[in-house]
Assembly symmetry: C2
Homo-oligomer: 140 residues x 2
């Protein structure tokens, strides 16, 4: 749980505060294999920070996403899930079975630059979830 302490300076430098609730949520995400739904995060983080409430989880996740410490991504059902930022990658989710693979960000890099050029928008760096049919389900 102390591992989350290393984020405290980052928060303070930007005028925010480190709290037990944020520690717990960061800790859960740090040790998650994959992205988690708010409900899953709530369930786990509550063990580390008793008294934690659901609204706080939702607000904290949105906050952490705003300051780019965590990254939101969409599940195949359209719901938001979260994972730690860094190790930038994207997902391809199977429309049939829901299985997913990661896509290296480098594959999208040139597209992002192209989009910036053609649209005038800057800092395009969002996580993207693509949908397709995986090799297994193609066989059926």
């Amino acid at each position: 749980m102390t591992c989350a302490l290393e984020y405290a300076p980052q928060l303070r430098a930007r005028g925010y505060r480190m709290t037990p609730q944020r520690m717990a949520i960061l800790h859960v995400l740090r040790h998650a294999e994959t992205h988690l739904s708010p409900a899953e995060i709530y369930k786990k983080a509550r063990l580390e920070a008793p008294g934690l409430t659901e609204p706080t989880v939702y607000r904290t996740l949105e906050f952490l996403a705003d300051i780019a410490l965590v990254r939101p991504s969409f599940s195949s059902s359209g719901h938001l899930t979260y994972e730690m930022a860094g190790n930038d990658h994207h997902h391809i989710v199977c429309r049939d079975c829901g299985g997913e693979v990661e896509v290296e960000h480098t594959l999208l890099e040139s597209l992002y630059r192209l989009l910036e050029t053609t649209s005038g928008y800057r800092s395009i760096n969002s996580h993207v979830t693509f949908f397709g049919v995986c090799p297994n389900c193609q066989a059926k």
Copy 2:
């Protein structure tokens, strides 16, 4: 409203049915300038199909998306919105003001082929919403 009747054969051919509720929802989407939230669709479609309920709107939209008649996309707040399929394009949404522009699908075409090659997934053709900062908000 009769314009929605042209979808009836498509539905029947696949074992589904055309209903007043589906007519109303398709009609609303056909005449929408942009993508709409389930709540907006409910509000408008209810005028054409009295008795229409919210669960039906949600189910119908999911159904229409499944059979690729309409296309889901994510608003900047992470909520699902819907629009008629066809005229394939993607969106870039401004993280600050929420303003958005369309991106032609042709810009993504080669990326999609590349993803299919590297991942083994097929039929990757999902709508994608990118997030960035628009020219206006860059000025601030």
